[in-house]
């Protein structure tokens, strides 16, 4: 017997000052809306920061994916502080190192390179989600 699959919470950076933060956020949308809509769900970092009970329940004692824009890793720290059992980290600044030709710009409206970076980041996150699905026997 198996219950409904628990969607994996995805928490992106809420950074408002840098393009890499914007790419992290866009990557979360690409992942949760386009690539793995049945397996993932975005949880707002601000809710976790505030200690919102419903948001904490979403992440408590399970696997979670953090997509961070910078080395401060606010999303990963927010998940860890909120009781996630295992935080899988995706760092946009690492992804951009592997795609050196990309020059992301913009915060509210990412340029084309920023969108490409978001897609590459989302692809990395999707691989993690697929691995987790395999471990759960849901592949």
């Amino acid at each position: 017997m198996s219950g409904p699959r628990r969607k994996i919470p995805v928490v992106p950076c809420s950074g408002i000052g840098k393009s890499l933060g914007a790419a992290a956020r866009e990557a979360a949308y690409v992942l949760a809306e386009d690539l793995r809509p049945d397996r993932t769900k975005i949880v707002a970092l601000s809710l976790l920061v505030m200690g919102d009970e419903e948001a904490r329940r979403e992440v408590a004692a399970g696997e979670a994916v953090a997509i961070d824009g910078c080395k401060l890793e606010c999303a990963a720290k927010g998940l860890a502080c909120s009781g996630a059992a295992h935080v899988h980290k995706i760092a946009v600044f690492d992804v951009v190192r592997r795609h050196r030709g990309l020059k992301p710009e913009g915060v509210c409206d990412l340029n084309e390179d920023g969108m490409k970076l978001a897609r590459a980041t989302a692809d990395d996150a999707a691989k993690i989600v697929d691995e987790l699905a395999g471990e759960d026997g849901h592949a």
């Binding site: 950076c13 970092l45 809710l47 920061v49 505030m50 927010g78 509210c108």
Partner: protein, 150 residues
């Protein structure tokens, strides 16, 4: 108390990624920062309060802040107060939307035209509060060049 060269207002948006209203907060704050009051405002990153951003916390202790929230959970206002100091002003997108009779605004990923207009209205509210906190006469929410004489 550190040496504070110039009084500025810190803007803290919830940026809630789940809701379109969160996207409105981010867009409104960026508009104020980049276009409307670039010399008078800075943005503070809400998650950094939790992640140990001492610069963020110190700023909010010594400077006035405006919390810009998407919904009545008021994460930005509450988290700022919890980790630093009570915000000097608070703007809530759902309240501005109600006042302006705004309906659907698009999605968190992509605001529609109505969402963009709501972001502009929220930006105007932020400008009003910024000017009030800096004790300036109320001005239209135009670019901050050509500042009024006291």
């Amino acid at each position: 108390m550190p040496d504070l060269p110039r009084k500025k207002v810190g803007l803290i948006s919830c940026s809630g990624e789940e809701l379109a209203e969160g996207t409105v907060t981010r867009r409104a704050v960026r508009k104020v920062l980049e276009t409307l009051r670039p010399d008078d405002t800075v943005t503070l990153c809400l998650p950094l309060f939790l992640a140990g951003g001492e610069g963020e916390r110190a700023f909010a202790r010594h400077y006035p802040t405006i919390a810009v929230d998407g919904c009545d959970k008021r994460c930005a206002a509450l988290a700022t107060e919890k980790y630093s100091a009570r915000p000097a002003a608070s703007v809530v997108v759902t309240e501005v939307a109600k006042e302006s009779g705004c309906g659907a605004i698009g999605t968190a990923r992509r605001l529609d035209g109505s969402g963009m207009r709501l972001a502009d209205a929220v930006a105007e509210k932020i400008v009003e509060e910024t000017d009030r906190l800096l004790k300036r006469k109320s001005r239209s929410a135009g670019p901050a060049s050509g500042r009024e004489k006291p």
